[in-house]
Subunit: 528 residues, 2 copies
C-alpha cells in the first residue's frame, strides 16, 4: 500500500492539519517516509462522534460476525507481508526475526480473541429464575452478563510495535468486548501503524462493521492524547509505557467530571531471587538464562529483570562471575528511539555514580547510533535497603545484582518491594522451597505473575496469563493486559429483571442457543 | 450484651480518646445509650498494623474454615435477638418489620457468601498446561486465580443499618474474598454497630481467625474515614452513601502515592418509563406500585424512583391522578437522622420553588420529629430538558413526574440521562416494545439493572444481581455492590508459572480437590 500519513476517522482518511512529523530510523538517526499529520481538535471530534453514534450498533454485532472481523484483521496483517516487516524494522531498529516473531504473536493473539468471542462463555451469563410463590415477596427473574463499556482510547506502545500497538492486545480485547476503539498511534512507528490501521479498517469494511468502529490518530506530542482522555465520549483508556506517562494519563482521567477507568501498565523491575541450593547446583545455567532475559530486545521489555538477589558474596558464590561472563559476550543493540537510548545512557551513568554500586561487567562498546551497551552492577543488600531509588526501573539492558547477607535480609527486601508485573524464584527441587517457605507468599502479594525457575521475559498469550500487578506496575491490579481475561477491562455487568424473552440477548435466553457455560440458580451449566 | 462504646481493634477493645458522641433517636431527637469514643490516630494504626500482619495468614485460611466463620457470624446475629432489633429501631426510626426483614436479608446474604466460598469456583481458576515440545519456544505451565487484594475499609451506610453496614454486603464480600476488614461505623446507629461488630469479632475468635481479621472504629466526623483511606496499609475502599461523600473519598484515594480502588455506590434517581399501551391498560396498578416504591422506608433507598416519565398530559392520561391519589393516602415516616430530614425538607422546597414544577400531591402533614411527608410534583418534558438540575437526587419520598410531548422527546431524555443504578420500563405485552425498540438499548448504556414491569426497590441478593452502574451511580461501573459477584471488587488475579505442585493452592492442583469449575486449556470443566 501507499502510505499517506493521514488519520483514520472511522472509514474517512484525513490530514487537514498542516503540522506534521516524520519517522526516524534509530539505527541511522535519519528521517524517512511520508509526512504524518498531527491530529486537530476537529478530527478528534469527528472520530469520537462516529464512535459514540455506532456504539450501540457495534455492541450488538453478533459473536460470529465479531469473530470473523477479528480473524480478517489477522489475515490482512499477514497479507501486508514484507512491506510491514521492512517498515517496522526501519522504524524501530528491531531485527527481522524479532518483528516476524512479534507478528506471529500478534496474529495468534487476535485469533485467540476471535475464538473467545465465538465460544461466548466469557460474558459470565448468570441467571436466577423467578420464584413467584416465595414468601414474604416473590423472587423476580434476574439475568446478567458483561456488556461493552463504550468507546476506548488505546495508546500504542513503542516497545512492541505490533503486539502492544495498533492491533495489539488492548485494541483487540476492546474490540472483542464490543467497544469502538480510537488508537493514538505511537510516533516512533507511524508507518507500521498506518499499515496495521489499514488492515483493521479494511477488515471492518469487508465484515460490515459500522463506520466508527475503529479510528487512529497521529500526534508526535501529548496534546491529542490529553484531548482524548478528557473527551466526554471516551469510557476507558489503555496504555503501556513509562510510569510518568501512565500516571499522568491516570491523573488526567480523574479530573473529568465523570472519572473513567485507566488501565496503565507502567513500571516494573521484575526481581529475580536465586536461592542457595539452586546457586550451588545451577549457577551457570541460571546466569545464562538471566543474562539472556536482561539483553533480549535491547532490554526493552516490560518484563525485563532489573534486580537479581542472592545470598552470599562474589567470593563465595559464582553467580556474579557467570553473569558477568554472559554480559561480556553480549552485543550492543539499537534502541527504539534516540530518546530512549539517551535516557538509558543517562540512567546507567547515574546508577554507576553511586558509591555503593560497583560495575560488575559491561559488553563491548556500542558501535552504531542509539545502541545500548548491556551493563550489570553489584550492590550489597545493606546498601540496597538504605536507598529506595535502587529499585527504580532502568529501561534497557541493565540489571542490578544484589548480594544479601542473610535469608532474613532477602525476605525483608522482598517485603519492601513495591508492585511488580513479575517476580521469579530460582530454586532447587525441594530444599530451597523448604528453607524459604515464606518467600512465595510474600512475592504473591507484590506481583501479577510469580515464576519458578524461569525468566520473566516471554509473556505467553493464553487464558491463564496475568500481565498486571499492584501499583506502580499498573494502575489497577484487578485486571491484566495480556491474555483473554484482559477483555474484562472494557466491559461491565448489567442485569435485566423480568425482561421479555424476545428482548433477551442470545447469551441469556432459556434455550442457550450459543451453548455457553452459565451460572443458573447457582449451578454452572452449558445446557439450556 | 452490655454496650461499651469502644472500638474493635482486632480482638482488643479500646476507647482511649476522651472525645465521644452519642446515639440519637430520630423519632424524639433524644440522645441515649453509652458514650461512643472517637477513634484516635494511635487506635487507627493499631487496627491497621494488625490487619497488615495477619493479611497473609487470613488469606490462606481454607474455604471451609472461611465458610464456617461467615455462617457463625450469621448465627450470632440471630442470637443477638431482640436487643439488636430494639436498639436498631431506636437509632434509625425504622419499624420493627423493616428491621426484622433487613436482618433476614443480611443473614441470607452472609450464608450466600459462605456457600459461594465453600463451592469455590468463584476464584476463576485457569490452567494452561505446559507444551515442552512447542516451537519456536516451549509453552510453560501457567495457572491463575483470584487472590485477596489486602486490607479493605468499609464505610457503614445509614440507610440499611444491617444489610449495608457493619456485617453488610461490603464487609462480607471482602471477608469472603480473604481480606481483613476495617469498618468505619456509621454514627447514626452506633449501638447497632457495636452489637454486630461483637458478633463478627466473636465469630472470628471461635472460628480461629487471626486477630486483626476484623476491626471497627467509631467517629461522628470525617477524620477517621480520611485517615483510613490514605493509610498505606489499606488496599481498597467500599462506600455506600451520598454523591458528595463517595466522590470525596474517591478523590482522596487518588491523592495517595499509590492510588487504590474505591468502590462508591453514590447517587441514582432510578428513572421509570411508563409506555403508552401500559398507561391505557394498567395506569392504576402501575401508580400503586410506583407510589409504594417512592414512599417505602421514607424513600431512603438507593433505588428510590425519583423520576417517572410518560407521554401525554394530566388531561389525557390518568397516571398523574392515580399517583396523586396514592401519595395522598400515604403516611409521613421518621427519617434516619435529623440531618437527613432537614435536607429532605430543603430539597423538596427548592424543587417546588421552580416555576416550571407544579406540586401534584402531598400526604398529610408530618406530626412527629424528623418525619418526611411524601410529595410528588409534575414537570413538562420541555422544562425537564432545559434544566439539568431536575435529574438530581432528592433523598426521601419525593418523585418528579415528567409529561413528555412525544416519543422522540422521551427517547432524547433517556439518552441525556447520566449513570443510574436502575431504570424501569412499564410496557404492555407486545405493542409497547414494538413501538419503543430503541429504549431498552439506550437505557442499558445508562444503568446497572434494567427492570421490566417492576419497581426498582427490593434489590434481590442473588448471583445475577447487579447493583452498580455508570458514574455517578458508582465510581466503577465494572463492579456490583450486591450479589455474589460483588466479591470481585476485592480480589485480583495472580498467575503462577511452572510452580512446584506442592506449592499450588488447592484450586490450581491437578487433582482439583475442591471439584471447582475451571478453565483448562480453554475448556471449562469441574473434573481433575
Amino acid at each position: 500500500m501507499n502510505l499517506t500519513g493521514q488519520h483514520f476517522l472511522g472509514f474517512e482518511r484525513s490530514g487537514e492539519n498542516p503540522e506534521y512529523f516524520t519517522a526516524i530510523n534509530p539505527a541511522t538517526n535519519e528521517a524517512f517516509g511520508v509526512k504524518y499529520h498531527v491530529a486537530g481538535q476537529n478530527e478528534i471530534n469527528r472520530a469520537l462522534v462516529k464512535a459514540e453514534e455506532i456504539f450501540t450498533g457495534y455492541s450488538e454485532v453478533t459473536a460470529k460476525q465479531k469473530a470473523s472481523f477479528l480473524n480478517l484483521i489477522a489475515d490482512l496483517i499477514l497479507e501486508a507481508g514484507d512491506q510491514l516487516i521492512e517498515i517496522c524494522m526501519a522504524e524501530t531498529g528491531l531485527a527481522n526475526g524479532r518483528i516476524t516473531g512479534e507478528r506471529a504473536r500478534t496474529i495468534n493473539q487476535i485469533r485467540l480473541f476471535a475464538g473467545l468471542v465465538l465460544e461466548g462463555s466469557w460474558v459470565e451469563a448468570t441467571i436466577d429464575t423467578a420464584i413467584p410463590e416465595r414468601q414474604p415477596a416473590p423472587r423476580p427473574d434476574i439475568r446478567s452478563m458483561l456488556i461493552p463499556i463504550g468507546p476506548v482510547v488505546v495508546f500504542g506502545a513503542s516497545n512492541f510495535p505490533l503486539a502492544f500497538s495498533v492491533a495489539g492486545g488492548d485494541t483487540i480485547s476492546a474490540l472483542a468486548g464490543g467497544n469502538p476503539v480510537i488508537v493514538k498511534a505511537h510516533p516512533a512507528h507511524p508507518g507500521t501503524s498506518e499499515i496495521i490501521a489499514n488492515c483493521i479498517s479494511e477488515a471492518a469494511k469487508r465484515s460490515g462493521m459500522p463506520d466508527g468502529t475503529f479510528s487512529m490518530l497521529y500526534d508526535s506530542g501529548y496534546n491529542t492524547g490529553r484531548l482524548l482522555v478528557v473527551h466526554p465520549q471516551i469510557r476507558a483508556v489503555a496504555f503501556t509505557g513509562s510510569f510518568a506517562g501512565g500516571k499522568a494519563l491516570y491523573d488526567l482521567a480523574q479530573t473529568r467530571p465523570d472519572p473513567i477507568p485507566v488501565f496503565a501498565e507502567m513500571s516494573s523491575v521484575n526481581p529475580i531471587f536465586v536461592l542457595p541450593e539452586a546457586l550451588k547446583t545451577s549457577a551457570g545455567s541460571i546466569a545464562k538464562a538471566i543474562a539472556g532475559s536482561v539483553t533480549l530486545g535491547a532490554g526493552q521489555f516490560c518484563t525485563n529483570p532489573g534486580l537479581v538477589f542472592f545470598i552470599g558474596d562474589e567470593n563465595t558464590v559464582k553467580l556474579p562471575e557467570f553473569l558477568g561472563e554472559e554480559i561480556r559476550k553480549s552485543i550492543p543493540q539499537t534502541m527504539l528511539t534516540p530518546g530512549i537510548a539517551g535516557n538509558y545512557h543517562k540512567d546507567v551513568s547515574h546508577a554507576l555514580a553511586d558509591k555503593n554500586i560497583n560495575l560488575l561487567m559491561e559488553s563491548a562498546e556500542a558501535s552504531g547510533q542509539n545502541q545500548a551497551k548491556p551493563v550489570i552492577a553489584l550492590v550489597s543488600g545493606a546498601a540496597f535497603e538504605q536507598n529506595k531509588n535502587l529499585s527504580s526501573e532502568v529501561f534497557g539492558p541493565f540489571s542490578l545484582v544484589v548480594s544479601c547477607d542473610s535469608k532474613d535480609q532477602m525476605l525483608r527486601i522482598a517485603r519492601s518491594l513495591h508492585g511488580q508485573l513479575t517476580a521469579s524464584i530460582f530454586h532447587d527441587a525441594d530444599k530451597d522451597l523448604d528453607d524459604f517457605t515464606l518467600l512465595p507468599g510474600i512475592l504473591k502479594t507484590k506481583v501479577g505473575r510469580l515464576i519458578f525457575n524461569g525468566i520473566p521475559t516471554g509473556v505467553e498469550v493464553c487464558h491463564a496469563m496475568i500481565h498486571g500487578g499492584p501499583f506502580p506496575a499498573t494502575t489497577d491490579s484487578r485486571f491484566t493486559s495480556v491474555g483473554t481475561s484482559s477483555i474484562k477491562r472494557f466491559v461491565r455487568p448489567v442485569a435485566l429483571q423480568d425482561c421479555a424473552h424476545s428482548l433477551l440477548p442470545p447469551e441469556l435466553r432459556d434455550d442457550n442457543p450459543m451453548g455457553i457455560m452459565r451460572l443458573i440458580n447457582g449451578k454452572r451449566s452449558n445446557q439450556s
